[in-house]
Each structure stands twice: as structure tokens, then as C-alpha cells.
Symmetry: C2
Subunit: 323 residues, 2 copies
């Protein structure tokens, strides 16, 4: 029996289907089989241009970025629905989409359902950090803008199991994002959540914004509003700083000469900070591996998302959570 493929919503994303198809071919070349989901004519055309071949599962509809997430209920044959159904029917091991995040979340919830004991699925983002694994797991990075304290306890559990089973961190340290290390510091949500999180294995207490990347914890738990702001600020700040470095290094002959010599080292560092390195973010808490990517994803991001989705599906994550 051949291994199950990853189902790619090939119609989702700003540069679909060109970059989705190209990314899928790159993933295939690295040993992960992929099935493309979408308009067969468009996809065959792209495959031909790219000089590759991949199986296609037809999907006649698409949820566009201008539609509400609930469009997945109406458009049963939308590519995102078809991709997630392949996971449900065990014809694919994971689903990946660079399209409408809300629609992907809705499709995953409706079709796959939640893992027992998890009230709210959440998005996990990985950011570069000074931890043992070189990254920090931030959860929730945007699925739930308003949450209750027990949801944060769910996120802590999901994040810890992911860090251990997928990233391979031994006994991951879990922290609650707050505005002071003392358990008396925070907003009402965090004060109440702290009490619940004390019962979570690996809980090391509160961390502040300054500790997210410094390596104080392997998993940082927060609501989806704060988490989304954190994720996008972290990406935006890295971009701004590297832009300023570029400007600073083009000022004066001596500096310009030095810039030539350090270019490669800085480029490697910038690549480490590039969101495309991670490709996409898993939606954790549903009964199956689903990854949600940036709309702007290029082929490298698509490829990395597919590889990571396969890795989650093959890990002990779902078994550990009893899913």
C-alpha cells in the first residue's frame, strides 16, 4: 500500500494555483506524496507548464477571500471542503490551505470535529527563539479572538503535546503570556487562567512579551487576539529591522565594503526569521492534521507547509491526545 498523500487546496492563496502547484511538486520531490484539490483544467495546465505530474481530486467551487467563513456550509464542493473531506475519509493524511483562514477553520471544525476534551481548536505558530529547539510555540495565534480561561488551559495542553510529539522537545516548558511574572499580574482572563494552568504539566508561570523570543519557555499560551498581534509584530519587526540594517550598511565606503563581507551571514539569519521557513500553521484541536498558511505564500512556503503537515500526521500527537 502506498503512503497516504497530503491534500493541498490548490486553489487557495494569492498566488494560486501557480505557487501551490510548484510547492506541491517540490514537496513530492522531497518524498511527500501530494494530491491537488481544485479545478482539474486549471491544475492540469499548471502542471504542464511546470513540467510535473500529480494526482488531482476535482473541486468545482472556491471560497473567495471576500466571502464569510460560513460559505463553506453552502459551497459543499469548495476546494477547502473537498481537501478536508479527504482527511476525514482517510484518503489523505493531512490538509493544507493558503486560502481563506476562517473558511479552513470552519471546514475543519464541521468536517473533522473536535478532539475530545478540547472546547476550542487553536492555531499554533512557531517563531524563531533562543530555546533548545530554536523556536517557540505560540498558541493561539489567531483562531479565537475572545476566549474563556478554560480555553487557555486547552491551548496549553495542545501546545505542549505538539512541542513534544512534533518538534521533539523533551518535557516542554509551558508559560502564560502576561504583563508581569507574578501571578497577581495580568488582565482578568489571565489571572483566572493562571489558576487553571497551575495543574498543567510543564507549567513554569507567566512570561512577559520580552521573554517570548528569549527562550524562557517552549510553549507560550495566549488568547487569539493577543497571539495574532504578537505573531504579526514579531514578523513585521524582523522585516523592519532587516530593512534598517540594509539602509545602515549602504552608508559610507568602509561600511559598504564590510557589508559585502557579512552579506551571506546576514542573509542566513534573515532566512531563519522568514515566515516562509515555517510555511504555515497547524490548527490544533480538530481530529486531523490541518495547516493554514499565509495568503501570500510562495512555493517554498507551500512546500514547507506540506512537509510539516505530513510530519504532524505521522507523529504521536493525535494518539497522545486520545484522538
Amino acid at each position: 500500500m502506498s503512503p497516504l498523500p497530503v491534500a493541498l487546496d490548490a486553489m487557495g492563496g494569492d498566488h494560486a494555483p501557480r505557487e501551490t502547484v510548484a510547492g506541491a511538486l517540490l514537496a513530492e520531490r522531497e518524498g511527500v506524496p501530494v494530491v491537488l484539490v481544485g479545478d482539474p483544467e486549471r491544475l492540469r495546465e499548471e502542471l504542464e507548464k511546470a513540467g510535473g505530474d500529480l494526482p488531482i481530486v476535482p473541486a468545482r467551487e472556491v471560497v473567495s477571500m471576500h466571502e464569510p467563513a460560513t460559505a463553506v456550509r453552502r459551497k459543499r464542493e469548495a476546494s477547502i471542503n473537498v481537501a478536508v473531506r479527504l482527511v476525514k475519509e482517510q484518503r489523505a493524511k493531512a490538509a493544507v490551505s493558503m486560502g481563506h483562514s476562517g473558511a479552513t477553520l470552519a471546514a475543519a471544525l464541521f468536517i473533522l470535529g473536535r478532539i475530545k476534551g478540547i472546547e476550542r481548536p487553536a492555531i499554533l505558530a512557531e517563531l524563531p527563539a533562543d530555546t533548545r529547539s530554536g523556536r517557540v510555540h505560540l498558541i493561539d495565534a489567531g483562531a479565537n479572538a475572545d476566549v474563556r480561561p478554560n480555553h487557555l488551559a486547552d491551548f496549553a495542553r495542545l501546545g505542549r503535546v505538539y512541542a513534544e510529539a512534533v518538534t521533539g522537545v523533551e518535557d516542554p516548558k509551558v508559560a502564560l503570556l502576561s504583563i508581569g511574572e507574578e501571578e497577581t499580574k495580568g488582565n482578568q482572563l489571565v489571572l483566572a487562567a493562571h489558576k487553571l494552568l497551575k495543574k498543567t504539566p510543564g507549567f513554569v508561570g507567566n512570561v512577559e512579551g520580552r521573554d517570548i523570543m528569549s527562550g524562557a519557555a517552549d510553549v507560550v499560551v495566549t488568547d487569539g487576539f493577543t497571539g495574532n498581534v504578537v505573531l504579526k509584530l514579531a514578523e513585521g519587526e524582523a522585516k523592519t529591522i532587516f530593512k534598517w540594517i540594509k539602509e545602515a550598511l549602504s552608508d559610507g565606503l568602509k561600511t559598504k565594503l564590510g557589508a559585502l563581507l557579512v552579506k551571506d551571514a546576514l542573509r542566513r539569519l534573515a532566512a531563519r526569521m522568514d515566515p516562509a521557513e515555517y510555511g504555515a500553521m497547524p490548527l490544533l484541536g480538530v481530529r486531523g492534521a490541518v495547516f493554514i498558511g499565509h495568503g501570500a505564500s510562495d512555493r517554498r512556503a507551500v512546500k514547507n507547509a506540506i512537509l510539516r503537515a505530513a510530519r504532524l500526521a505521522e507523529s504521536d500527537f493525535f494518539k497522545t491526545l486520545g484522538a
Copy 2:
């Protein structure tokens, strides 16, 4: 008549009174008169060591970092209370403290009271950004962990007047921090606040985390929980990136040589990102100029805080708000 001095809580901060006294002397040398508030013997001793002289207003008590903010009610002669009273009595034009933030906030509220029409004073932080002024004004950066929508409207007004009157930005653009640019994106607080902010002059809509430093707005409005996380992440990430740059530039002979040539340029950039550059943050919405600094402040941060406090006091900020 000699100009009014800035009152410095010389006992507040991890390195007080050594760094507070040294910073006050630096500010004095740059033309801003300072009065030290605290234990006269300790302060005279420090002044002697530093070889300088400044007026002292005695304060026999101190609110320590381990006490609750409400200690300012009990310890009427605490240095922070005495410093703020000097502002109230118009014997000082501004008060600055690197000590207990909560106590400073409480003292300012109790002694100076709120500006009419402002329900909740807020802390304004300035971060380096790609705006016209080279910085973005983030408000609230930590005074109010839980707020209502109308408080965010107050923060917008305070931030805009500050950016215009103190920083000198013409017609500042004000944005609401959210998780999507559309007004339908956000948590319950932000969705409700967006409606109120539409009536604020200069309002340009929502911005995301990625836009904070990119220059999309001169003033970014948020609750004190999110704002404090943003402020500390922005500082922490800059620190982490510059640490990684240092590591990347010490790898290999060619890179090391280049590093020597670009050192000065990178150092200037790192200095621009250093929180000590700003020194401290104004507490806006009380009837007087009060600045709250990092506990870890060194003399440069203390000096910059004093200069900025004097600048706020001398600006049209209070007049514009009818205070």
C-alpha cells in the same frame, strides 16, 4: 524668576540613588533644572561622590517594589508622593520616577486627578518606526489591563494630542490595533471601540501587529494588556535579533573582517532601538506631567526621561486638552 525644575523621585529604580543622581546631573548640564526627592543624607552622599550639586526636597519614606501600589495612600511621605505633590503645588513642572510603576500611577491619580473627560489615564510608549517622526506612539502600554471601548477612545485622543503637541507630528494618523484591517475583525472590545473611534480626528482604521513599526500610523491605540505585551516584545525581539547578528558576524574569517567594518553602523542602529533612548513613558490623562521609567534605568535613561518630561510640561499638550 527661575524656571520650574523637574522633580525626580531619586529613590526609585533598581540602581537608585546612584544612577538617578547621575542622570539628574546630566540633565542639569543640558539645561533642565532638577530637584531630587528622597533621603537627604543618601542623596547628599551620592552628589558628593559624583562631584555635583542639586537641590533636595526631603522624603523620609519609599514605596518598595514588594509593596502594593496602594502603599502610596499609607506612606504619605514616600518619595513618589512628595515628587508628585511638587507638581500639584506648582513647585515642579513635572515628576519622573524609575520606581514602582503602579505606585507612581496611583500617586498621580490621587494627587493630580484626571483631566476632564478622560476616564482612565494611560501610559504612552514610543517605539522606533518607519513613520515621518521615526517613531510610533503606542497607547496604552500598560496602565489598564482591562478596559471598556470608551477608554480606547480616550487613549486615541490623548495619543493624538501628544503626537502633535510634543513629538511635533502634523495631523497624526491614529489607528486601532486589531487582527485584521476590516472593521469586522477583532475581539469584542475592538469591534465596539472601532465604532467610537470613527469619530476621532485622524482615525485611519485598524492596523495589524505587522504594521506597528512599518509606519502605517503615528498613534496605535490598544488596551494596556496587549500594549504592554507589544512594547516588551518589540524591545525583546530587537535585543534577540542584535544578539543573533553578533553571533552570525563572529563566524568565519571573512565575516569577522566585514564585521569590523560595519560595527559602527550597526551600533548606531542598535542605539536607536535601545529603550534607554526614550528614557521613560508619560502617564497621560492626569493633570500634570508624570513620567514612569524602567526599574533597570541607567543614568542615560534617567537623563532622557527628565528631558522628555520637561518637554511635555512646556508643550501645548495640557492646554489643548483643556487641563
